[in-house]
C-alpha cells in the first residue's frame, strides 16, 4: 500500500468512527426542553397498570431541578427546596421509636408501590437493597451508606429520632438529589412502619447496634 493510500485509509477510518457518538463519561444535565420531550414520550409510551397510574410520569419540582442539574444543583437552588420538603414532613408527636423486630422485616422486604403489588398494602422499604443494616444480614446493597452501628454511634435522643424519621420519610429534605426514595412522601411506608425502622436504627437492643 502506498503511503498516500495508507494515510487516506487512516483518515477514512477516523471519519467512520467519528460518525458514531462519543460515549459519555459522566451524567449529563437535561435542558427544560429535554424534560418536556421525555415526559411527552413516556406519556405516549406507558400505560397505567395496577396501582402504577400514569400520574407517576409527571415530574415534581425536586425531580425537575435534579434532572436539570445532573443531581448537583447549586446550593442557592437546592436549599429552599430542601426546606420546603422538610416543612411538609408530618412529624408525629411523642416517641418515634417503634418495634425494631417489625422494622427488620420492613427493611428486608423489597415489595410495595409496584404495579405487581396489592394496592393499599404497605409492605417494605427495600432498605437492604442499598444499605448494610443488621450485620447479621450478608445480602446487602452498597448504593447507600452502611447503617451498621447507626444508633451506637449517634444515640437515640429525640433529635436523633426526628432526624432518622425525617430522613426515611423524605430523604430529599436533607439532600435534594439523594438517590434514596422519599418513602413516606411517596406513600410506600406509613407512620408506624417508619417508626419501626427508626427503632431498627436507634434501639440499643436492635441488631444494628450490637
Amino acid at each position: 500500500m502506498s503511503r498516500a493510500l495508507k494515510v487516506a485509509s487512516a483518515f477514512g477510518l477516523l471519519a467512520a468512527c467519528a460518525t458514531a457518538p462519543t460515549p459519555l463519561t459522566e451524567q449529563p444535565k437535561a435542558t427544560p426542553r429535554d424534560l418536556e420531550e421525555v415526559t411527552a414520550t413516556l406519556k405516549r409510551d406507558f400505560h397505567a397498570r395496577g396501582q402504577a397510574t400514569m400520574s407517576r410520569v409527571e415530574l415534581d419540582n425536586v425531580q425537575r431541578i435534579c434532572n436539570l442539574h445532573a443531581d448537583n444543583p447549586p446550593r442557592e437552588v437546592a436549599q429552599p427546596l430542601e426546606e420546603a420538603q422538610l416543612k411538609a414532613i408530618p412529624f408525629p408527636s411523642g416517641s418515634l421509636m417503634g418495634d425494631w423486630k417489625r422494622g427488620e422485616r420492613i427493611a428486608q422486604s423489597g415489595r410495595g408501590s409496584m404495579w405487581s403489588d396489592k394496592p393499599g398494602v404497605q409492605e417494605g422499604g427495600s432498605c437492604y437493597n442499598c444499605h448494610q443494616i443488621s450485620p447479621k444480614v450478608a445480602a446487602f446493597g452498597t448504593i447507600g451508606p452502611s447503617l451498621a452501628g447507626f444508633g451506637k454511634l449517634r444515640g437515640s435522643s429525640p433529635e436523633m429520632q426526628r432526624y432518622a424519621y425525617g430522613r426515611i420519610y423524605n430523604s430529599k429534605a436533607y439532600n435534594l438529589c439523594s438517590q434514596m426514595p422519599r418513602l413516606g412522601h411517596a406513600g410506600t411506608l406509613n407512620e408506624q412502619q417508619i417508626k419501626d425502622l427508626v427503632a431498627l436504627l436507634l434501639d440499643p437492643a436492635s441488631p444494628v447496634n450490637q
Partner: protein, 262 residues
C-alpha cells in the same frame, strides 16, 4: 465497508475482563457450561417456521434488516431504522412487526403473552434466542447513521438519566456509579462502554433464577416495574431507544449469546 472496519477495530480494543474480578465469576462460569439455551433456540426455530395467523404463513420471509429471511448477522445490526415502518426497531419490535404485517395478526393478539414463565416460555422469547444465535461471534453494530437512528440514540440517553416516578429513579440510580450492588447483584454502569460491552453482548439469555429465556424488552419492563413506574408498551419507542442507546455504547463487542444469567 468503513463501518465494518470501524466495528472490527473497536472489537479489538481491549475490553476489561470485569467478570474475572467478580467473586461470582466462578458461579457464572459453572452455570454457563450447562446452559440449556439450545433447547430454546430449537423451539424458536420451530415457531419461526410455523404457519400462523390469519394469513397462515411462517416468519421465514421476515426482513430483520439483512433481507427477507436472512438471519445471519441480523441481531448484531439491531436496533436499526426500517423504512417500511419508518422507525427504529429492536429485534422484538421487528418480530412483532412481522407477526402483524406478514402473518396478519393483531397487535393485541401477538402481544398477549410476550413474557413467559418457568412453566411456559413465550413465543417472543424463544424466537429472540433463535435469531440472536445467528449473530454469534459477530461485532455489535447497531444503526447510527440514519437521522432517526441518531434521534433514537439521543432519546435513549435522555431517558436513561431521567429521574421520575414515586421513587425518583432513573436507570442511572442503579446503573450510574461504579462498584455498587443491589443486595448481592453487581450493577453495571450501562452508559460506559466497558460495562455495556459484556452486558449487551450476552442478551437475550437463559436466566437460571427464572428457568427461561429473558429478553431485553423484558429487562426494560421489569426495571420500570421496580422503579415503581407505570408499564412501558412492548416494543415502544422508549424501550427501543434505551436498548439502542446501550447497544451503541457497547458497539464493536463480539456477540456471544444467548448466554446464561443468574
Amino acid at each position: 465497508m468503513r463501518a465494518v472496519t470501524c466495528g472490527v477495530m473497536l472489537a479489538l480494543a481491549p475490553s476489561p475482563a470485569l467478570a474475572q474480578q467478580s467473586p461470582y465469576a466462578e458461579y457464572q462460569r459453572m452455570t454457563a457450561e450447562n446452559a440449556p439455551t439450545e433447547l430454546f433456540e430449537l423451539e424458536g426455530e420451530e415457531i419461526w417456521k410455523k404457519r400462523q395467523g390469519p394469513k397462515n404463513v411462517s416468519l421465514e420471509r421476515c426482513d430483520l434488516g439483512e433481507g427477507p429471511g436472512v438471519l445471519k448477522g441480523a441481531y448484531a445490526h439491531l436496533p436499526r431504522y426500517f423504512a417500511d415502518a419508518d422507525r427504529v426497531m429492536d429485534l422484538e419490535a421487528r418480530l412483532l412487526h412481522c407477526m402483524m404485517s406478514l402473518q396478519g395478526r393483531s397487535r393485541e393478539e401477538a402481544t398477549k403473552r410476550v413474557f413467559g414463565n418457568a412453566d411456559r416460555g413465550s413465543e417472543m422469547e424463544v424466537l429472540s434466542a433463535y435469531v440472536a444465535r445467528h449473530s454469534n461471534g459477530m461485532p455489535l453494530r447497531p444503526g447510527i447513521r440514519h437521522p432517526k437512528e441518531r434521534a433514537s440514540y439521543e432519546l435513549g440517553q435522555k431517558i436513561f438519566f431521567h429521574r421520575a416516578g414515586p421513587w425518583d429513579f432513573s436507570c442511572a440510580s442503579c446503573h450510574g456509579e461504579e462498584g455498587k450492588r443491589i443486595r448481592m447483584s453487581e450493577l453495571p454502569v450501562l452508559y460506559k462502554p466497558e460495562f455495556a460491552r459484556p452486558l449487551m453482548a450476552t442478551w437475550p439469555a437463559y436466566r437460571v433464577s427464572s428457568s427461561k429465556i429473558v429478553t431485553l424488552q423484558w429487562r426494560m419492563n421489569d426495571c420500570y416495574r421496580q422503579m415503581r413506574m407505570p408499564e412501558p408498551d412492548f416494543g415502544s419507542e422508549t424501550t427501543v431507544a434505551l436498548i439502542h442507546f446501550m447497544t451503541v455504547t457497547a458497539r464493536g463487542e463480539s456477540y456471544r449469546g444467548p448466554a446464561i444469567k443468574r
